[in-house]
């Protein structure tokens, strides 16, 4: 049995319907290639334009801001381009020959593409603090998704903690929605301001400047902000849920706030799982503290049939993601030898590259200013690093002391990274904890090796997959 709505083949498969994926699929389909856009969520938009077309908010722009309108336009253009958008479709494997493993509506099927554009975007960087697994602690991004998709806001004493633009954006959106925030605990290290100052000239020309300053002012008017937070702890009450947030500011005595909801955030990092499992080479980026894929001028990875567009190739934000989506699609058209009427492709690519350069201007300032403090990336011994298998930082350090060299071996020591999230919530922390303990760079430690399926898929689904004559010959004798 195969998933009824899945095509067996296509020219270009795009994975992820955020700004990069929508832009890529639109370009590919307009050029006349059969294009399928796979997306795990119920509706296109990605996380930045989440629920752009389906939000229950009657006036989304009034609460969420103008960015939301862009998501609607991107989704509309893509639908009009002739690309097939498959929402609710999970891609759990990508092979170098362009074969995808896809689950849709409880059935799995292979889809063979001539070229694959991975546009799986970013994940929120883990913020492992004591108590971060308690019910009542979530990410700021999660709260934003609840607001966009369900019109929900936190109730009771809501505390925001961490650093980065999304934290301030959420605070402003809550304010506009009439939701109260008890406190914003800013963990941006004070020294970052000095380090970031030298990138200020680039930032002055960036479109983010006015937007960012406006947000900070808007939030500071209505929310008590505690700056220079250096330690943070979530504490549970008798109910087993969050009851209190305790924090320190440098040498001052510990302070404490009652809390019903704690929303954590310290930036985002590329979602590299699918690209890693497909064998695309990645390098450690010390400015953005993450692994990012090695890409050529057309955003093609080290696997020729796979391009990587959007924040999955390095954090640039929504506008850069869109331009990268277009560029990756143009590269795919070029590789597949699609027609180039009027020689427009080179021009369109140059335009996209210029937009990317403009968008990235000022990024160095944000990366340096909001570089999360080591204390919030490389936690103390008692803090859980792996939420799924409940492995603490102390046990990882013990394993290193016993000679465990990297995250792959750590799996057999501690099962760390082998739970259902497959390392998505812990791999950056594991890499940095091990690098620090061994006194080597995170790049040398590497990322945990990933294999398909990168998302859980039932055995029944795999067993029911349609097989090819070649696959059958491989296992049948005679």
């Amino acid at each position: 049995m195969s998933a009824p709505d899945l095509p067996a083949r296509c020219d270009i498969a795009v994975i992820g319907a955020g700004p990069a994926g929508l832009a890529a699929a639109t370009i590919a389909a307009r050029a006349g290639l059969s294009t399928v856009l796979f997306d795990e969520q119920p509706a296109p938009g990605g996380q930045v334009h989440r629920a752009a077309t389906t939000t229950p908010l009657a006036d989304p722009v009034a609460i969420l801001g103008v960015g939301q309108a862009r998501g609607v336009a991107l989704a509309r253009d893509c639908a009009a381009s002739g690309a097939r958008i498959l929402s609710g479709a999970t891609v759990w494997s990508v092979a170098a020959d362009g074969t995808l493993g896809v689950s849709l509506a409880g059935a799995a099927s292979p889809v063979v593409a001539r070229h694959v554009v991975i546009a799986t975007g970013a994940l929120e960087r883990p913020m492992p603090i004591p108590g971060w697994t308690l019910p009542g602690v979530m990410t700021a991004g999660a709260a934003q998704i609840l607001l966009k998709t369900g019109g929900l806001v936190g109730e009771g004493r809501v505390v925001l903690a961490g650093c980065g633009p999304l934290l301030w954006l959420l605070a402003a959106q809550y304010r506009r929605a009439g939701a109260r925030i008890a406190a914003l605990l800013d963990t941006t290290p004070r020294a970052n301001w000095i380090a970031a100052a030298r990138h200020l000239p680039g930032f002055l020309a960036s479109p983010y400047l006015a937007k960012g300053l406006g947000l900070l002012a808007e939030v500071r008017r209505s929310v008590p902000v505690f700056g220079g937070v250096t330690e943070l702890r979530a504490e549970g009450g008798t109910s087993g849920r969050l009851a209190r947030v305790s924090f320190r500011r440098g040498a001052r005595a510990e302070e404490s706030l009652d809390a019903d909801l704690l929303l954590l955030h310290q930036g985002v990092a590329p979602n590299v799982n699918l690209a890693l499992s497909a064998g695309c080479a990645h390098d450690w980026d010390d400015a953005q503290l993450c692994f990012r894929p090695a890409l050529d001028a057309w955003l093609t990875s080290t696997v020729e049939s796979i391009s990587i567009a959007g924040d999955g190739g390095g954090i640039g934000g929504a506008e850069v993601a869109e331009a990268r989506g277009r560029l990756a699609a143009l590269g795919a058209l070029r590789r597949l030898g699609a027609g180039d009427p009027g020689g427009m492709r080179a021009k369109a690519a140059a335009h996209a590259r210029a937009e990317i350069a403009t968008g990235l201007r000022g990024r160095a300032f944000l990366d340096t200013l909001y570089r999360p403090a080591e204390a919030f990336r490389i936690p103390h011994d008692a803090t859980l690093v792996c939420r799924c298998e409940e492995v603490s930082a102390a046990r990882i350090r013990e394993a290193v002391a016993l000679g465990c060299p990297g995250p792959n071996q750590l799996k057999s020591f501690l099962r760390c990274g082998m739970g259902p999230c497959q390392g998505r919530m812990c791999s950056l922390t594991v890499t940095e904890v091990m690098a620090k303990a061994r006194g080597v760079s995170p790049g040398e430690i590497g990322h945990v090796r990933l294999r398909a399926p990168v998302k859980p898929v039932t055995l029944a689904e795999i067993a029911a997959m349609p097989t090819s004559p070649e696959a059958e010959r491989a296992v049948l004798r005679g």
Binding site: M138, T139, A142, L146, V153, L261, E390
Partner: protein
């Protein structure tokens, strides 16, 4: 933990589901995890290792803290599943029961 901005929303039909045998109401179009949080029933599961309670954490399919049983199928991610009238949801205690 969460409340609905009722005055700021477009009207939508009510969808009824049961969670551990209790009926709750959601808005058509809700993600299951959002409906659970809005109904004050965010505790989706306890962990197989220590039995600690967990609730949705990322809302984007990454953390797997929102695993519940939906219409008899175990370990579904509640943050990716839209609600449906008559949906039967059970929270998960500890390790999965084999065969589900």
């Amino acid at each position: 933990m969460f409340r609905r901005l009722d005055d700021a929303l477009t009207p939508a039909p009510v969808v009824g589901l049961t969670v551990d045998g209790t009926r709750i109401e959601a808005r058509a179009g809700d993600l299951l995890a959002a409906a659970l949080l809005a109904a004050g029933r965010g505790l989706c599961r306890t962990t197989p290792v220590s039995g600690a309670p967990r609730a949705p954490y990322c809302m984007m399919g990454v953390c797997f803290e929102c695993l519940v049983t939906v219409d008899g199928m175990g370990s579904r991610q509640a943050c990716l599943v839209p609600v449906r009238e008559g949906m039967v949801v059970e929270t998960q205690r500890g390790a999965r029961v084999p065969g589900r």
